[in-house]
């Protein structure tokens, strides 16, 4: 077993009401400006006990859960990760001088979550993500990556995820046409973002642009749509490892080469291999989203991510290894469970450890249980652990 990595619990009961109940229609991700080392879960302000993700009250003392609110950016202590020193108002350690890392922004809604971070090279986070639930309570993941060679890419990405999730949130999900409608809404929203006012961009006549990946998980299928190179994968537990399978199709120079028989690793090294051939925005080519469906069952996870993650795990095998290494699936040997939010955060941390050359966004959702006449709380995933138990980050 891996002593340093905890298994991932696939779901926390029927997500239908629970998720649908407290998920706003759409909430674009923002890179929070302050606290580092965010605890994805939080502790009770009254008794210090760890809080269950999404809980309104502390299970130990009953006090209202005033800690990091479920579904919001999380707070954290201001101490230096390197030496334990105090962090000053400028974000530096008062002892060793290290800059406190920008916090990973985590949105934790139990059976669906995302984490996003600016990475280690870019001065700002131009990715965005949103979580939602359909009328059936099925999880919706939306991830967008602003094109850094365009003005206001962060605003385009935020507008795109907000529009796409709003299109799907709270409505009955009828399949691929709904996904295409979400992509079209995102395209319209991104196209409406002005090019002016970007402090990091001198006006050159180009328009804000972004990629998009949208996924909806029903109890039996994953539906995915994408434009550009944001990806959707399924993660299927296989013993103590995850098996990853890409559902989306990249609009990229490399993907075209792969389609013609070039190996993935070779294709990504091609000149301009990372260049995208499709995007959203006012100067985008004719909108032609890839739409795909895969059969799944409860226990499977759906992952949506920006290339800040998959650049370091470009193949299904590499991605499966990365997820297994950071958050293995629940199994017979697993004693503690890991929430999806913690798994997302760990993958962001992992991508930063690989170099963090781009903004990183990772979203995860559990394939929901088929709707039961009376939804019951309780573990939906195999394994001995209480799936709602959360561990320290």
């Amino acid at each position: 077993m891996r002593p340093d990595a905890e298994p991932v619990v696939a779901a926390t009961g029927p997500p239908g009401e629970e998720v649908g109940g407290d998920v706003p229609d759409a909430e674009p991700a923002v890179a929070a400006g302050d606290p580092p080392e965010a605890d994805a879960v939080g502790t009770c302000a009254a008794c210090g006990e760890r809080l269950v993700a999404g809980a309104s009250f502390c299970e130990a003392c009953g006090a209202p859960a005033t800690g990091p609110p479920a579904g919001g950016p999380t707070a954290a202590a201001q101490t230096c990760a390197a030496c334990g020193g105090e962090i000053d108002g400028d974000g530096y350690c008062t002892t060793c001088g290290r800059r406190a890392p920008d916090p990973v922004t985590v949105d934790d809604r139990g059976a669906l979550a995302f984490a996003t971070h600016r990475g280690r090279r870019y001065p700002r986070n131009e990715d965005a993500a949103a979580l939602a639930a359909t009328a059936e309570g099925w999880p919706v993941l939306v991830v967008s990556d602003g094109v850094s060679a365009s003005p206001n890419p962060h605003r385009a990405a935020a507008a795109a995820v907000a529009a796409a999730s709003a299109q799907l949130a709270g409505r009955p999900f009828a399949g691929d046409d709904d996904l295409v409608a979400a992509v079209e809404a995102a395209h319209a929203a991104a196209s409406a973002v002005p090019a002016e006012g970007d402090p990091q961009w001198a006006a050159d006549g180009s328009h804000p642009a972004c990629t998009l990946a949208v996924a909806v998980a029903t109890p039996t299928e994953v539906h995915a749509a994408n434009v550009g190179d944001a990806r959707v994968h399924t993660l299927t537990p296989d013993g103590d490892a995850w098996t990853a399978a890409q559902v989306s199709t990249d609009d990229s120079v490399a993907a075209r080469a792969v389609a013609q028989g070039v190996e993935v690793e070779v294709a990504l090294e091609l000149p301009g291999g990372h260049g995208i051939t499709g995007w959203l925005g006012a100067d985008a080519p004719a909108l032609d989203p890839h739409v795909a469906t895969r059969p799944v069952e409860p226990g499977v996870l759906v992952l949506a991510c920006s290339d800040g993650l998959w650049n370091y795990a470009p193949t299904d095998a590499a991605l499966g290894d990365a997820v297994t290494a950071t958050a293995p699936p629940p199994g017979p040997g697993a004693s503690t469970a890991t929430s999806l939010a913690v798994a997302c955060e760990r993958l962001v941390v992992w991508a930063n450890e690989q170099g963090g050359s781009d903004n990183i966004t990772v979203a995860l959702a559990a394939v929901p249980e088929p709707a039961a006449p009376t939804p019951e709380s309780g573990p939906a995933a195999p394994g001995p652990a209480d799936p709602t138990e959360l561990e320290d980050t």
């Binding site: 674009p28 001065p123 986070n125 131009e126 962060h154």
Partner: protein
């Protein structure tokens, strides 16, 4: 150290650096420009009144002063200084030879208070001095120190005039006297004639946060003394300190004032916290601006890491932190970023080399090593020309014949005037600033501001 305290607009500080370092590089260079507000009273900072100021005028009355018209000029200059004092300023006049004598006031007080009567009486006492005896500058400073110890005036300044070496005292005695005065008062030093020692007087002025200059022509003394008093009285902000925080394990390799003149203050720090050092800067005049070159050695981080290598704070006499500037280090594998040199750092590195070249060239010439002297002074000409340092260029041209300034080709002059050499030596530490519009890699500053901006949100 985290709290910056109430911020006063009396000072501003700005950092110029290339914070990008290649992997493994541990040395961080930065130039910090500190400027006092033009009207600090408007910024709410207290100004010193005349009654808050104390002046001691120290005049050499040793036997050598009797040569030529040095003594007459010195009396004239000291009288001009007395005349320049504002009403209400505490002042004393010290006559120095192999010992120090308080010639005004003579009623047992340490200081007279300037008014018309006292000024007239002091000038009469100055007029009565006669040259005799030796030179023991340490004793003059000892007396000044005792006088200043008796006043509560926060702004304390002395003028020291000599024409000779500290001949009647051991070097260690002078060093001890200077050390005892440090932080108690500021002292501007002047050498008249050509028989004094540039290094000796510069040592005193540097330690006591003052200026040093040669007044080769005694006739110019009075105007110079008036200017010193006027400049001293304009220093409305007394006892400013530069506080430098560095991270644990870091070493302050050097901290030098680089403008308006070179002043190495590295070794003068006192500890003000576990990781903080205080450097005395003396008094500041409204609108005054000085540049400091810091070199800090840190434990290097990994590629992508960012570290605060230094935090520069200006601390006023009452302990208020007036302003702060950050010196950062960011390790990168992008050589396009890490190989650039900030133009301010480059400029002042050149100015320091210019001062060194002049000093070494003159030393070599004195020792008869013409080859070294020619090379060093040639290099000085080259650096002065490249940085547009017109004043130093003119002084160099008094000492060498310049064939090609750009290449640094010079010939030593035969029978050079000693006053010209001493003037060049004394003023070699004066620097020119980099003009705002000067050519160079202006883009170097851009990443600094980019890095300073907080990471923008995704929305």
């Amino acid at each position: 150290m985290t709290a910056t305290g109430p911020q006063s607009a009396a000072f501003t500080a700005e950092t110029f650096q290339n914070e990008y370092l290649a992997a493994g590089v541990d040395t961080v260079d930065a130039v910090v420009t500190v400027s006092a507000a033009g009207h600090p009273e408007e910024a709410g900072s207290a100004l010193t009144a005349a009654t808050d100021r104390a002046e001691v005028i120290i005049v050499d009355v040793s036997g050598s002063m009797g040569a030529g018209r040095k003594m007459a000029a010195a009396r004239e200059a000291a009288s001009a200084a007395v005349d320049s004092l504002d009403d209400g300023v505490s002042f004393a006049v010290v006559a120095g030879d192999h010992e120090a004598k308080l010639i005004w006031p003579r009623d047992g007080r340490s200081f007279a208070i300037a008014d018309d009567d006292d000024r007239a009486a002091a000038k009469a006492a100055i007029g009565a001095t006669e040259p005799a005896g030796g030179t023991a500058i340490g004793t003059w400073l000892d007396l000044a120190r005792q006088l200043f110890a008796a006043t509560a005036a926060p702004a304390r300044h002395a003028i020291l005039l000599t024409d000779g070496r500290n001949e009647h005292q051991q070097p260690y005695e002078l060093a001890a006297a200077v050390a005892a005065c440090r932080g108690l008062f500021q002292c501007d030093c002047r050498g008249v004639g050509v028989d004094w020692e540039v290094d000796e007087l510069r040592g005193i002025a540097t330690a006591l946060l003052g200026t040093v200059d040669i007044v080769a022509d005694p006739g110019d003394l009075a105007a110079d003394f008036r200017a010193m008093i006027s400049s001293s009285q304009s220093r409305a902000l007394p006892d400013v300190k530069l506080r430098l925080w560095t991270p644990q394990g870091a070493v302050i390799e050097s901290l030098r004032q680089v403008a308006p003149e070179l002043l190495d203050v590295t070794g003068t720090a006192t500890e003000s916290g576990p990781l903080a050092r205080d450097f005395l800067l003396g008094g500041w005049a409204p609108g005054e601006s000085r540049d400091y070159h810091l070199r800090i050695k840190v434990n290097p981080g990994g590629v992508g890491d960012e570290m605060l290598a230094g935090r520069v704070s200006l601390v006023l006499a009452d302990g208020t932190v007036a302003t702060q500037a950050l010196v950062r280090a960011v390790w990168t594998d992008d050589t396009a970023k890490s190989t650039r040199m900030d133009r301010h750092v480059a400029h002042y590195t050149g100015q320091a080399e210019l001062a060194d070249a002049i000093h070494e060239g003159l030393e070599a010439a004195k020792a008869g090593d013409e080859r070294t002297a020619t090379v060093k002074l040639g290099r000085a000409v080259q650096l002065a020309a490249a940085s547009g340092h017109g004043d130093t260029m003119r002084l160099l041209a008094e000492v060498v014949d310049v064939d090609d300034a750009e290449r640094g080709t010079v010939r030593l002059r035969r029978g050079t005037d000693k006053a010209a050499e001493m003037t060049l030596d004394t003023r070699s530490t004066r620097t020119v600033r980099l003009g705002k519009g000067a050519s160079g890699d202006a883009g170097t500053d851009a990443p600094a501001s980019e890095q300073a901006a907080p990471p923008a949100g995704g929305a």
